[in-house]
Symmetry: C2
Subunit: 206 residues, 2 copies
């Protein structure tokens, strides 16, 4: 059975929703960030990066959200979570997820994890101040250029949807009003209605 | 025929090497960053993010390096650039590429693109100062935990190799001595010997 390392309030939620959508059997294992368990010697053997998510399979351990999402889609094909037989559509899906991980999540991370990129407390504060603008610009691009509707990729639900939903949930704390983005906001509500999403949210703070 | 938008000195090199390795027919189109052509109305129609690379196919335009790399591997299967029939191995490849785009490239970007995440010039300077440490730590992880050798994924060359090579080439300017990472350094020399790499480097500054 799969084992899934996660922490509440992190991007691991995207993979957890996807596991639920796939109907996968898995054991969720909570990593205690308050106790910095992610930096413990024990957890670093699971993921040397000291991050979540990590998915333990019978072949080995996978990390990085876009890789895990595509893997779940490929190994649970009956769940129809990705256009597996269309390389171009699959690449569009991957492109969206790559934008979320390399640009949107990164913009967001400057609010709480600025120490990754500067030591000076004043610089870390300056990063925090720009988060509403940088995250807002990312969601403007998603709203106006990328989102097809009703799901990210159009008529078909894909692994992009749990990932976007996860980052949309961070907007309020990032100082961005999700109501500015009508399509993204409607998507968040649509997602919240899905039983798989509700199961995955059971361990989340709110 | 494919059209490939790139700029010298950017991560577009990874996709260009991969196109060459695949034996793809493509038209390279240089985007003039010195003239900020990437922000021109004309180019924003190609890629609303104002970035490179962008790959124009007969189905539409693809952006984001990990998505383009997997797409080339899938559409040129005879080139053997990815483990296409092994979902776990494919996910490991994607995981590596995702780490490069969301963590390694991002750490590097704080040297020249700090304005994305803060407005204060002192903060931007503080970001620049941390780049040797943050990029060095990323390459330490790659060297010690991820790189299998002689290629990133082991015995088989994959699309991870052009991508790692591209980021390794930035180490010197990032203030990191690649000789600290023996396996990564040897990989850089191995890559430089490949004819496809040499063709792709024709438009690079050095």
């Amino acid at each position: 059975m799969l084992k899934f390392y996660f922490a509440p309030g992190t991007c691991a939620l995207a993979s957890r929703i996807t596991l639920e959508e796939a109907g996968a059997r898995y054991e969720p294992v909570r990593v205690d960030f308050a106790a910095t368990q992610q930096r413990s010697q024990e957890y670093l053997k699971v993921n040397p990066k000291g991050r979540v998510p990590a998915l333990v399979t019978d072949r080995g351990i996978l990390t990085e959200t876009p890789a895990i999402l595509a893997y779940i889609a490929q190994t649970y094909p009956l769940a129809n979570l990705a256009p597996l037989d269309d390389a171009f559509a699959f690449a569009q899906m991957q492109s969206f997820n790559s934008y979320l991980c390399s640009t949107v999540h990164v913009a967001h991370a400057h609010r709480m994890r600025g120490y990754r990129w500067a030591d000076d407390p004043a610089a870390i504060k300056a990063m925090q101040q720009k988060v509403p603008q940088s995250v807002g610009e990312c969601f403007g691009l998603i709203e106006n250029e990328m989102f097809k509707g009703p799901w990210v990729m159009g008529e078909n639900f894909t692994v992009c949807d749990p990932y976007l939903f996860t980052l949309t949930r961070w907007l309020k704390a990032d100082g961005v009003d999700s109501a500015r983005f009508a399509k993204v906001h409607a998507h968040m509500l649509l997602m919240a209605d899905r039983p798989a999403v509700q199961r995955a949210l059971a361990d989340e703070p709110c």
